[in-house]
């Protein structure tokens, strides 16, 4: 979706149409593999915004982990497809995921908000049971609860997305995060050199 509100500019950078024809498809593929929900790329003569709806994200996960999943024993199968909490997403919403920071077995909090309900700063959304300890999964900043991605009792990896949170409210309240969200874009346009 091109968004031509930036002023034109006569630099030697590729023009917006060139950028769209040459780079967006690659960018979209890389974007699809990240847990990011929206991506804005600024070029000298315009801005391209890529967005995922949470439904896309849910459909995405099993194919990503299919290679691993096929080996997994039945009791630990990742059952992303069976989650019924698909939100009615509108394109353009700044969704974020809350990811597991430790390896263990996931359990949602008993008082988990319903989709559409607000989530509090630092509110506990679930627990990861590891080494017989219940480690809380906390929400970092306020937003609206969209969905739970993994099932109760499922084993989770480090970095595995657990919840989708709509940050629209936070974004509207503080214009600063837009600039902040431009940072990871750099990394995606230029994949990290490892």
């Amino acid at each position: 979706m091109p968004d031509n509100n930036a002023e034109p500019n006569s630099s030697a950078e590729p023009s917006l149409p060139q950028f769209i024809s040459q780079r967006v498809s690659t960018l979209a593929k890389m974007f699809a593999e990240t847990p990011l929900m929206s991506l804005r790329v600024e070029t000298p003569d315009g801005t391209v915004t890529l967005e995922k709806s949470a439904a896309d994200q849910l459909a995405e996960r099993p194919s990503q982990s299919a290679r691993f999943a096929q080996h997994r024993t039945a009791q630990h199968d990742r059952k992303h497809r069976t989650i019924g909490l698909t939100p009615g997403a509108e394109p353009g919403q700044p969704y974020e995921t809350i990811n597991a920071e430790i390896v263990g077995v996931f359990h949602p909090a008993p008082d988990l908000p319903m989709p559409g309900e607000p989530v509090e700063d630092n509110g506990v959304l679930g627990y990861i049971e590891a080494l017989r300890l219940q480690n809380p999964v906390r929400n970092a900043k306020r937003g609206t609860f969209v969905s739970q991605i993994v099932e109760d009792g499922q084993a989770v990896d480090f970095g595995e997305p657990l919840f989708v949170i709509d940050r629209t409210e936070a974004v509207l309240a503080e214009p600063a995060p837009l600039a902040e969200s431009a940072e990871p874009l750099e990394q995606i346009v230029e994949p990290p050199r490892i």
């Binding site: 080996h71 630990h76 390896v103 590891a130 080494l131 480090f158 595995e160 050199r193 490892i194």
Partner: protein, 458 residues
Amino acid sequence: MFEKILIANRGEIAVRVIRACRELGVKVVAVFSEADRDALHVRMADETYCIGPPQAARSYLNVPNIISAAEVAGCDAVHPGYGFLSENATFAEICASHGLKFIGPPVAAISLMGDKASAKVRMLEAGVPVIPGSGIVASFDQAKAFCREVGYPVLIKATAGGGGKGMRIVGREADLSKAITAASTEAEASFSNGAVYIEKLLTHPRHIEVQVLADEFGHVIHIGERDCSVQKPGHQKLLEEAPAADLDPGVRTRLCEAAVRAARAVEYANAGTLEFLVGGDNQFYFMEMNTRIQVEHPVTEIVYGIDLVAWQIRIAAGERLTIRQEDIQPRGHAIECRINAEDAEKSFQPASGRLGTVLMPGGPGIRIDTHIYSGAAVPPFYDSLLAKISAHGRDRESAIRRMQRALAETEIHGVATTIPIHQRILEVPSFRQARTHVTWLREEVLQPVQPAVAARGT
């Protein structure tokens, strides 16, 4: 036998352990960091868990995540490979407390051998020769007296040391006190322990180590020796052989017997290696014991026809070692070249990046242990070992020629490798005559025209 083993490692050793597990019919759980999502060990495993970000401290050394992954996956044992947590007694203890069998020696043996000072004391008690040492340096006068007794050059070492940190070579008494202060300061900074001791430094010794295998019922055997004298500056091995060429048969027998005595003295179980320095006068001295599988284990496996990694697992599962000492007979000669992502022309500076085409050698007598493939990433966060190429021949000369043929077939594009330096080594006359020693590579290959090196007292 175990049902399912978690491999707390990455790279070629994780692949090696997976192969042993497959042949034993054991399921495998791999763990990986975010930098290793596409790594070969992850592809080969039955189940996989991401345990953290790329930095080893937060992934491959992340004990809670590793133990949690083992519990979640329902593993009954953990194989630590080498490096990372393999010689960490606390990790072995935590495994045990979570009902996971640590595939390695008992915790007490890891702790004892992990502390160089206590290891030396125990070895002396067991009648294993150790390099004359001063004990922890308490005063300059004590240090001076010791050095006069054993003669210069001497080596100052940190008790908590490793990797050359806190080490100083001293060639004459005038430099002694300054070197002790510098080594102690460096050790304090690196290990939070400034204690140092002094050892007699041998001139041009060979590094010869003995592989031992022990079950949990007290049956201990040795599986011959390896010569690992070809080392980069900083004592990192580059090329290893089994058996050690031209080693006096009497010395070989005494070395191997000493290794078995040493293993018994610490009630060792599982696979382990005793490292010795062998002087020009054929005197040998215990250096340290590695309480894990070693990088260079393939040369022993090839020459003796024994699967060391499978035996590690079988012993940990409570099996009895069915090999008798008299069954241990070498067949031919094996050489291993470590192919690292390093540029020997630039002080072995490690390289990382994305590999282009990778073509590994094959054919008669060649064994490859690797985790790389065309297009694979070489992350900058871990050691630079890309592959181990091992060649087996009926004698040393035919193993060398086979290795030369294999190295010429090998193509690894995208990063600098140690293939060119190995090709040079294999051509050097003193290598062909098996006259290598621990500083041979530096003195005769890397800087052959600078006799000034001798001034450092080595």
